[in-house]
Symmetry: C2
Subunit: 308 residues, 2 copies
């Protein structure tokens, strides 16, 4: 099975309003709720691709209960660890006219030392059966900034390939623990390496410890620095739509390709096609299966000179 870790899971709420006006009163026309947090998004896509998938991390309070209730009908196993605190809500307020989104993110539960220990026990047990693990998203309050570095080391000690998708200081420390793969976007790459030149930045991020680095270049696709070479993968044409969850779909593509033993160009093509098919889907964070199948054969993967 493939394990995804979501330490700061969320109940994602979307409000639709005609237009958001600060200091005015709005009647919300539409309310939607879904389980959120990057690792849960990755797990949904992995499960849709047919992989045996387990989710762990933390869930607590009424929002945690709501989240687990929504996970129950999905084809994945819920191994979330209970916490006394309350799982955060994230609120996306979507303007009906412009389609623009205003995001309000709650901070997440304060995780205690005892809860962190309980999680580590669960994580070690799950690693025993895992073909790969993805560590995804932000850290909730109370979890130490080196937590992902610790989880990377434990995965490596258990011989489980580990992908890290986070940002800021937790990414910096996590990379130093030598994960198999990181998937930073251009902003995170720049913060990690100090360089805004993608080819230089992905190579530099490898030197900092990650065995492979897949930089996401937004609509231009992915740039991968790997032990086997440097590749760029791009969709056949720019796609318009809602980019929410596109990066998580790319992570699912990379991780499933790794577990299936696909060569890098095929992993990258899958990741780009899934990502584009997510942008094209009407519901945020879902992917369009027909678009994925159609795009998969049309992604261009180009080998780049390692020194160029």
């Amino acid at each position: 099975m493939i394990l995804t870790v979501t330490l700061n899971a969320a109940l994602d709420i979307t409000y639709r309003v005609p237009a958001l006006t600060p200091h005015a009163t709005h009647r919300v026309a539409g309310v939607e709720e879904r389980p959120g947090g990057k690792g849960l998004n990755v797990a949904r896509v992995l499960a849709a691709l047919g992989h045996d998938t387990v989710v762990t991390g933390f869930a607590g309070g009424r929002t945690g209960d709501a989240l687990r209730e929504m996970l129950a009908p999905l084809p994945l196993r819920d191994a979330l660890v209970p916490v006394a605190g309350t799982t955060r809500r994230t609120l996306a307020v979507v303007d009906g006219t412009s389609g623009d989104t205003t995001q309000l993110n709650e901070p997440g539960p304060a995780v205690t030392a005892a809860e962190w220990s309980a999680f580590l026990g669960a994580y070690e047990g799950l690693l025993a059966d895992a073909a790969a693990v993805a560590l995804c998203g932000s850290l909730p309050p109370g979890v130490h900034v080196g937590a992902y570095a610790d989880l990377v080391r434990r995965a490596r000690a258990a011989d489980v390939p580990v992908l890290l998708d986070t940002s800021g200081e937790p990414l910096l420390r996590g990379v130093a623990a030598r994960p198999d793969l990181v998937k930073p976007n251009a902003e995170e790459l720049a913060r990690l390496t100090g360089s805004r030149e993608p080819r230089r930045a992905v190579r530099d991020a490898r030197r900092r410890g990650a065995h492979a680095v897949v930089g996401s270049l937004g609509p231009d696709g992915l740039l991968a620095a790997t032990p086997d070479g440097l590749w760029q993968a791009a969709p056949p044409a720019p796609v318009a739509g809602n980019p929410t969850g596109a990066g998580d779909s790319a992570v699912a593509g990379l991780l499933s390709g790794l577990v299936e033993g696909l060569p890098w160009p095929e992993r990258l093509a899958r990741a780009v096609a899934l990502s584009a098919a997510t942008v094209l889907a009407p519901a945020a964070g879902e992917y369009d299966t027909a678009a994925y199948e159609e795009l998969l054969g049309r992604v261009t993967v180009t080998e780049r000179s390692a020194t160029g």
Copy 2:
């Protein structure tokens, strides 16, 4: 006991952010939740004044459960009627810098005909023991626009004095059913009567059916057209603070005064003092007990000429 009816109860959520910027992502610094809806606010103040208080209306879903859990420790009796739909959330996003609030209100549960019948049964039963009833706030989807008129008639048939505090078409129809008291603000008075001159408007609202009309003039206090005369009650000085719930505290003052058989000037003084003490309290919708006691003796109540 005093009964308050909240057909569209709410879980009131407050988010504190440094500043709300449309189309940006915000970390929410503080999250607060409390039971909301005008009738529940009125009931809290009635209970704090020492009155035996019962709340009814509808509650459903996870937010309904959360709301009832928060009501449980309060000194009032929860007689809310369960619905299959979900109690709405209201979200107030407070700017830390300006203190200004952006309000996002969910629509509320779709109440079925069977649920409305169940409520009417509960309401009739509760009226049998009620010394007075307050009908407060908006109607949830599915409840007919003449619902308050129906509830006013049933209260009058049971010889229970009834106060109506709502707006728009439900207020217009409710007034025609001859409630004992309505408490419109200046905006609602203007919509009800077509007049923006307060003295003319409160008298005209009486002619439309209400036995007494107490118009709220914001910081200028209350203007009451009653069978006993016309009075204006004003706080000793303007008060600065958060006006959330000030109108609901005024309703609690008027209703408790009615049940205690106080003459109109004393009822009005209590309502104005409670309202001002609510504006002064640090927490939205609570009132400052010391400020209330202090203000009560300093409210000025002036009899106005009925023709002036």
